[in-house]
Amino acid sequence: MTEKYTMPDARGHFGPYGGMFVAETLIPPIQELNAAYQRYLQDPDFISELDADLQHYVGRPSPLYYAERWSRELGGAQIYLKREDLNHTGSHKINNTVGQALLAKRMGKTRIIAETGAGQHGVATATVAARLGLECVVYMGAVDVARQSLNVYRMKLLGATVVAVESGSKTLKDALNEALRDWVTNVDNTFYIIGTVAGPHPYPAMVRDFQAIIGRETKQQCQDMIGKLPDALVACVGGGSNAIGLFYPFIEDESVKLIGVEAAGDGVASGRHSAPLCAGRPGVLHGNRTYLMADDDGEIIETHSISAGLDYPGVGPEHAWLKDTGRAEYVNITDNEALEGFYALTRMEGIIPALESAHAMAYTMKLAPTMRKDETIVINLSGRGDKDMQTMAKREGIEL
């Protein structure tokens, strides 16, 4: 066993990473949020309301599924899938939005804003806002609005206003910029639900804590199903919320390998990718210090990935820390490899994964054959592929 893991410190630092790098107007609301979060984290009423929502509204616990046929096919480690795709709204994102929305309600906020890339977080936010009767505005890059139109429609059905962001690269990072601009303008009545483990403190820690249910359940399910800890955990990393959610409860279990899979787009060597941990450098963006895709002048570089949810130039600061300390390993998977993972899971197990999660599938196809048959891999199947049907059909030349 290993020493106790207590990150972040009181000011939100994970070693040199994390922190609170925002303009002055946002400091008071962030401090207010942090105080509320620290308080309700200890509040039994809040915790029991959250637990009830996760059980009855989200549908937790999500199953841990033994992918027997695929394991046999790959001929190495036994593969288990943590089925976050079966959650209400189709991804792990709802674990966090349910928690933050309850917090917003207790803080008396009447208006919710969010940024979204693939639209999964936007849908999960619009969903909880509808349920609580809160006004909801979702910022989404214009490029993503076009490639994830199904999710745009879902958000509108749920009563949210979707704002297509036309600035910069018109993707997730620009949606985050625009959400921050909204927040700074409407701080008094607005709660900003950030969807990933990035942003200023306390977001990286708070989103992690809401997502850590994934890892806690996995630990218990592994005990029940195989009677031991798994040997490796594999999850895709964009901002990194599904990965941290799975990893966090295992950080002190050193026998368990933690592997984050970044999006290599056209390949890391091509420069057209979204893999800051594998090929970026430390810097400050969106309120925290972390690994970024930036040029020598510190300007943020445009990212590329087939999956809108991984198309982000930064990554949660805790992943930066886990990388530097060597506790987690970060690898990358190209668009084409991700597609192989997508088809493999679909045809071997009858489960269509989100293109984001397909990156984790593709890495597992490389990893599993190198491991023994008595070893176990748990992959976070963070979302389902319904939202990607148009993208996939288009690639195959099919008009839907």
């Binding site: 000011r11 922190g19 609170m20 790098f21 925002v22 303009a23 002055e24 107007t25 400091i27 008071p28 609301p29 600035s167 910069g168 990072k173 620009d174 910029n177 921050l180 601009r181 700074v184 303008t185 409407n186 701080v187 008094d188 450098r281 430390p282 810097g283 400050v284 963006l285 969106h286 309120g287 210090r289 970024l292 930036a294 040029d295 020598d296 002048d297 510190g298 300007e299 943020i300």
Partner: protein
């Protein structure tokens, strides 16, 4: 005494307020910015805030965002902004120049490397939008060792405790963001600004410049009278944007607006 401190001291002695224009370096070209800086000085400005273009200007409204995009389109950078300031200083040893921008270009250069480069360029102050005092002590100390002021932002929701913190760590002046919002927003309320300035002035002895939402001579006069100076940015940059085919006309419109502000403020 630093150039900023003596500028504000002179102004206070003569009962005048500082007129502080903000322009983005390299928008639309570095040559344009350089000649505009000199002309603005002739029009009576006291301090120049020189914006360092950044790819993700989170606290800025659309006008300054687009100014950054125009400058970045031809690879403007922190290094080139410092070169521009060096060039300006060759012909003007009086006017204080404050760099205003975001942290990541400074992180990329390294804090010490940046502080040295800013000293070489004879920069007077640095305002980094996303570097609050909690995270900014190291950078402020390196700048201070080199006689460069660190300017902090204050907002309508800043508490007494935070105003004290900025006052202790900052120097040169404090920049009061007059409204909750991004640069160029349009709902500035003079009565709110007046109340907040009373609170700030009771705590700090530093001069206070007021910005965000100042668009015309009348507002400049009203707002500057509540503090020690007024910052005007988006209103100038929109004149660059509406005259991209005719930079000379952009320049004369900017000078016209600043002259009108100067006149109104001195009346």
């Amino acid at each position: 005494m630093s150039r900023l401190a003596s500028t504000f001291e002179q102004l206070a002695k003569s009962g005048r307020k500082a007129l502080i224009p903000f322009v983005t370096a390299g928008d639309p070209t570095p040559d344009f910015t350089l000649s505009l800086m000199h002309e603005m000085v002739k029009a009576g400005v006291d301090v120049i805030e020189l914006g360092v273009p950044f790819s993700d200007p989170m606290a800025d409204g659309p006008v300054i965002q687009r100014a950054s995009e125009r400058a970045l389109a031809h690879k403007m950078s922190l290094t080139k902004t410092l070169a521009l300031a060096t060039e300006f200083r060759k012909a003007d040893q009086q006017t204080p120049v404050v760099l205003m921008g975001y942290l990541n270009p400074i992180e990329a250069m390294g804090y010490e490397g940046f502080a040295n480069a800013a000293r070489r360029a004879d920069i007077d102050g640095v305002l980094t939008v996303d570097l609050p005092p909690e995270e900014g002590e190291q950078c402020a100390a390196l700048l201070k060792e080199r006689d460069i002021d660190t300017i902090f932002l204050l907002a309508p929701n800043s508490t007494d405790e935070r105003i004290q913190k900025m006052s202790a760590l900052g120097s040169g002046y404090l920049y009061y963001v007059s409204l909750k919002g991004v640069t160029g927003a349009g709902h500035l309320n003079a009565a709110d600004v007046e109340n907040k300035l009373k609170q700030i002035k009771a705590i700090t002895s530093l001069p206070v410049g007021i910005g965000f939402g100042v668009k015309d001579a009348e507002t400049a006069k009203t707002i500057s009278s509540l503090g020690d100076g007024v910052v005007v940015g988006s209103a100038l940059i929109s004149k660059i944007e509406s005259n991209l085919d005719n930079p000379e006309r952009a320049k004369s419109e900017i000078i016209g607006l600043l002259s009108a502000m100067r006149q109104a403020m001195d009346k």
